[in-house]
């Protein structure tokens, strides 16, 4: 819980954790590492998530356009897909539309639409496919990672089961 520490002698609020220590127990499962597809045309951003996810033990495929992402979903069968909306070739939402046309079974692969567009219509479209809709700028990579873990049903240490996508952050950060 937030405390009343005087600022002068306050310790850094975020405990610096060793990636191996922190994430190692999460990702490995009975079936081996989970495969995450990231469709993102900004390489800085995709790299950022890739580092964070891989450090948590996930296997990551990065695609920088919608067409490639669609193909990869069909050929690689990732456990979860993180789709940007504004991308070359096909937008993230068009990828979802194309998958639906292809009678894709969304129940085997949770989808997170991760974008900086906060248009209501986009949000509604994403929800209509059963996808989670998150705004990139409002989340840290850590929070995205927590969300993914939650979607894949990977329990985290010390947190009550919750539908709140951001529930992981406080627990992790404050401990």
């Amino acid at each position: 819980m937030p405390d009343t520490n005087p600022p002068a002698k306050s310790e850094p609020t975020f405990t610096v954790t060793n990636p191996a220590d922190a994430e190692a127990p999460i990702a490995p499962s009975a079936d081996g590492p989970k495969l995450i597809l990231i469709a993102e045309d900004d390489p800085f951003i995709s790299r950022m998530y890739q580092i964070k996810l891989e450090s948590a033990g996930f296997k990551v495929i990065v695609k920088n356009n919608g067409r490639d992402a669609f193909e990869a979903i069909k050929s690689e069968h990732p456990n979860l897909a993180v789709l940007d909306i504004n991308m070359p070739e096909l937008s993230g939402l068009e990828v979802l539309g194309a998958l639906q046309n292809d009678s894709f079974d969304f129940s085997v692969m949770p989808v997170i639409v991760l974008t900086n567009s906060s248009e209501l219509s986009d949000r509604n479209t994403a929800h209509s496919f059963g996808a989670e809709y998150l705004v990139k700028a409002e989340l840290t990579p850590r929070q995205v990672l927590d969300m993914i873990s939650q979607k894949l049903g990977i329990a985290k240490e010390g947190d009550p089961a919750d539908t709140d996508p951001k529930d992981g952050k406080a627990g992790k950060g404050l401990k």
Partner: protein, 722 residues
């Protein structure tokens, strides 16, 4: 013998004139006086005639003596007439006695020797008494005073009346002067030869009075004369024809001999009965046909009434003109008429009735008719008469209200071809005034309407310009929202990277940081976080104005949400040496149905503000449950909100002065959005402040939303239930 025939002939028109005058209007004093005047003259002529016809000197004397009574009566009546015509002027009682006395004297002395005393050799030798001298003197006085009086009146009157007086005067002078000479003065000198002729001078009077009556509408007798004459002719013709036919037929069928005297008489009487029965029947059919065809007869009251009705009921100038001119012409049976309305000395509107004139009058011509009323028939000649005749006009009136000149009413011939009667003239005088006022009003109304039209046009024009400007503004506003939306999205992409990598550095993804590095990166991370929120505010405001601001609720753990926000801002508070304390409720809180993102932003905004505007002390965040509501308060020990700023504090882009000084980069959007977010979720904003001591900002939200969740929220639920 010739003298007697002339006298006999004189009698017929004289009696006819008297009858006509009294029949046409027996109640009017002028008619009565004129009747008495004519009666006296007639009696005088009759007595003279009787005297001429008398066989014995005795009879001659009797009739000659009698003549003085009607003669005195005529003189007396003439004086009265001069007083009563054309309008009554008072006669002094004394003067009246003086006038009336000779009449009494004439009756008293009539059979005595003070009158004519003897006649020998058939009137040519008449001996007269003292009364005779006196009466002749009286005739002189009466004649001269009456004439002078009428002459004076003549000089003061004008138009029709002047003409009437002139003819009456002429009639009297030309009748009385020779009569006085022949019957009054000459017999005094023993010259009696012309005595028997003198009464025939009355013919001159009859002729001139008739001119006054017929040409100058004296006494309204025209109508009576016309009808009576027609009646008389009808009777004569009918009786002649019937009798002729009866006699002719009896001669033809029965060869003359078989018809008895009595039978013939019966038939003649029958024909008279038939002739007399014609008039009532004709009257009956007249009334029926009068309703169908125009007749030169109307009731002034009725016309005035219907005229007033039109004037009262119409305001539109064109309709006033059309209806009044039509009414006037139809009721007065006028062939054509023209109403010319002026405005600022120029012709403004013209309305016609009947056949259009060949040439319209132009303004300078009309200007010559500038008189209340001009009757062409009364003009002797000259420019006006010439002008009116050239345009076929019989009457012109210039219409004026008390203040304004309105225009002209120009009338052509009557359908009957008659001249305008004095009934017409009187009616027109009244109507002219009403018409002037009505036209003046309607004109003002028309001008107001014209003004309204131009005004309306201007308003329309201005409205159009405003509409265009408004559309332009809306486009600009839309473009602004688009821009904010696009800019915000574009800003978010680099911000995602900055914030993301900074958070990863703090999380040790790039290796362990030392204390200073951690501190610096933490500052940078906090600032990037604030920028993200700022962009969210901007987006929300642009959504609000675009009507795309929607609350999407889902079950939220508020304790967790607030502790996260407090944690986020802890570094910031520490840097300012301010204590940031969170007091969660003692009992666990059930999940609240709220919009997580937006409420989170509100909480973050309250705490962030509190830290910013507090120099020393603490910021205390208190979360409590009150029945089915959750209450958050952020209490600081900061600068507080000045009294004058409190009302506007929650409006868009508003910033209090003291806040402006401390934090010049604030947007003035945080509290505006906070209020919207809280109220849109059925909650209330909590705010209290003491300037210089500190403020409390917060909200109270229902744990369950009052309204059903939005469609969008249903999606979320649907999804989460899977």
């Amino acid at each position: 013998m010739l003298a007697n025939i002339i006298l006999g002939i004189t009698l017929v028109p004289l009696i006819a004139l008297g009858l006509v005058v009294i029949i046409s209007n027996s109640k009017r004093v002028i008619n009565r006086l004129l009747f008495l005047f004519v009666l006296g003259t007639s009696l005088w002529v009759i007595f003279n005639l009787m005297a001429n016809l008398a066989v014995t000197d005795q009879a001659d004397l009797f009739w000659s003596r009698l003549t003085i009574v009607p003669a005195t009566m005529v003189a007396y009546v003439f004086v009265l007439f001069s007083h009563y015509f054309p309008v009554k002027t008072p006669i002094r009682r004394f003067a009246h006695i003086i006038y009336v006395l000779p009449l009494i004297l004439s009756i008293v002395f009539e059979p005595t020797n003070y009158n004519a005393s003897s006649i020998t050799a058939g009137q040519t030798n008449l001996a007269v008494g003292a009364a005779y001298y006196f009466l002749v003197a009286y005739y002189f006085v009466a004649f001269i005073s009456g004439t002078l009086r009428l002459w004076r009146t003549h000089n003061h009157s004008r138009g029709l009346q002047r003409a009437q007086i002139r003819y009456i005067l002429a009639g009297v002078v030309f009748t009385v002067a020779p009569t006085l000479l022949f019957s009054g003065i000459l017999p005094l000198f023993g010259i009696n030869q012309l005595l028997s002729i003198s009464p025939s001078a009355a013919l001159i009077f009859v002729a001139l009075a008739s001119i006054a009556i017929f040409r100058h509408r004296l006494l309204e007798v025209r109508f009576v004369v016309a009808r009576s004459l027609a009646y008389l002719l009808l009777l004569t013709v009918l009786i002649s024809i019937y009798s002729g036919i009866i006699f002719g037929l009896t001669q033809l069928i029965f060869h003359g001999s078989t018809m008895s005297q009595a039978q013939n008489l019966t038939y003649i009487i029958l024909s008279v009965v038939v002739a007399f029965s014609v008039q009532p029947m004709r009257g009956f059919f007249d009334r029926i046909t009068d309703r169908i065809f125009y007749r030169d007869h109307y009731d002034s009251e009725v016309v005035l009434n219907s005229f007033s009705k039109i004037i009262v009921s119409e305001l539109d100038l064109n309709r006033v003109l059309k209806r009044t001119i039509t009414e006037l012409c139809e009721k007065l049976h006028i062939q054509f008429a023209q109403l010319v309305v002026f405005n600022n000395e120029r012709v403004y509107r013209v309305e016609h009735y009947g056949t259009l004139p060949k040439r319209l009058m132009v303004a300078p011509e009309l200007a010559r008719l500038d008189a209340p009323m001009i009757v062409a028939d009364e003009l002797e000649g000259g420019e006006r008469k010439h002008l009116m005749e050239r345009h076929g006009l019989r009457l012109s009136m210039s219409l004026r209200t008390r203040e304004d000149f309105v225009g002209y009413l120009l009338l052509g011939d009557k359908l009957s071809g008659d001249i305008y009667s004095s009934q017409d003239i009187e009616l027109l005088e009244i109507i002219g005034k009403e018409l002037a006022v009505a036209i003046s009003n309607a004109k003002a109304y028309a001008q107001i309407q014209e003004f309204n039209l131009t005004l309306q046009a201007r308003v329309d024009h201005a409205t159009n310009r405003l509409r265009v400007a408004n559309r332009h503004l809306k486009e600009l506003d839309h473009a602004k929202d688009e821009f904010i939306s696009m800019a915000s999205h574009q800003l978010r992409t680099p911000l995602t990277t900055i914030k993301g990598y900074l958070s990863m550095m703090l999380e040790g993804d790039a290796g362990k940081l030392n204390k200073a590095q951690t501190e610096f990166v933490d500052y940078a991370f906090g600032s990037s976080e604030r920028m993200v929120n700022l962009i969210s505010d901007l987006l929300n405001v642009s959504r609000l104005s675009a009507g795309r601001f929607l609350i999407q609720t889902k079950p939220t753990d508020m304790v967790q949400m607030i502790s996260e926000e407090v944690h986020q801002l802890q570094t910031h508070a520490s840097a300012k040496h301010i204590k940031l304390i969170f007091e969660p409720p003692p009992e666990p809180l059930p999940p609240a149905e709220i919009d997580d993102n937006k409420t989170r932003q509100v909480v973050m905004n309250f705490i962030d503000n509190a830290i910013y505007y507090t120099q020393v002390g603490e910021v205390r965040v208190v979360l409590e449950q009150h029945a089915d509501k959750v209450r958050l308060e952020v209490r600081d020990t900061g600068i507080g909100v000045p009294e004058n700023a409190r009302k506007k504090l929650f409006s868009k882009f508003y910033r209090a002065d003291n806040a402006q000084t401390i934090r010049p980069d604030g947007t003035g959007l945080g509290l505006y959005l906070a209020k919207r977010v809280v109220e849109d979720q059925g909650g209330t904003i909590i705010f209290s402040s003491v300037e210089g001591k500190g403020s409390t900002f917060g909200f109270e939200l229902p744990l369950k939303p009052i309204t059903q969740p939005h469609e969008v929220a249903n999606h979320a639920r649907h999804k989460s239930s899977r």
